[in-house]
């Protein structure tokens, strides 16, 4: 690609996947590919893959889910921003889903714990009509906030 065009075009990838288990691997791969554009270590890229997969899994395993998950990954100069949108209303409270048994709720809690541990910044917004937006940020090591 022309260098000037490459500079002008942000590394931003949008992906819309059905909220079903067989599509989670694609979301992981997309996030890892964008993460690879930054100077993240292999370990940090693995962290991103796991966090994205856990976020998708939380949507899929929650009753309030929509049909699709919208994933947006953007490689900025010093960080990777991953936004996950779905039309469900669960936020990161998957452990409160009434359809889950105790064991499932514990595992869901583990997934959310992993997201919060592996990513540098995690926030979410639950809108009654529009659904849930989850924002996760992974910063390139050594870069200030």
């Amino acid at each position: 690609m022309n260098e000037a065009v490459e500079r002008a075009t942000p590394d931003l990838v949008e992906l819309r996947i059905p909220a079903r288990p067989e599509w989670v691997a694609l979301a992981r791969l997309a996030a890892a590919t964008v993460a690879n554009r930054l100077r993240l270590s292999i370990e940090e890229i693995e962290d991103v893959k796991l966090a994205v997969a856990e976020a998708c899994t939380a949507v899929i395993q929650n009753d309030g889910r929509g049909e699709f998950i919208q994933l947006t990954c953007e490689a900025l100069g010093d960080s990777l921003r991953v936004r996950l949108h779905d039309s469900g209303h669960h936020g990161l409270h998957a452990t409160e889903s009434p359809s889950m048994n105790f064991e499932e709720a514990r595992i869901a809690g583990l997934g959310i714990f992993l997201i919060r541990t592996l990513m540098d910044e995690v926030s979410y917004d639950v809108h009654p009509q529009l659904g849930t937006d989850l924002l996760m940020v992974k910063r390139v090591a050594g870069r200030p906030k």
Partner: protein, 114 residues
Amino acid sequence: MDIKVNVREAPGDCYVVELSGEIDVYTSPKVKDAIGTLIDRGVYHLVINLEKVRYIDSTGLGVLIGGLKRVREHGGSVNLVCTNPQIKKIFDITGLVKIFGIFDSEDAAMKALV
């Protein structure tokens, strides 16, 4: 993406479940079935070999925890074989290193079974 499950009998009333591939929300039911089938048959001492597992998420961890819980009800145990640093890290940060015996080789994992 898939997970391969190879189950084989080992000395001392023990079975080895060798997993190969990626364990996530899509593939973990297959692992759960394999472990559940063994436990239903009365096998309560398991070594689960994760050496060829490239990736595991919380659903995979959940399957392992569920298996461990079931065998412990019968006085059994589950030991893991894991050498992949990324996977070891997940066991570490979730505190599961305190629950599972994690070994570098199948031999060591089998010898340590209670």
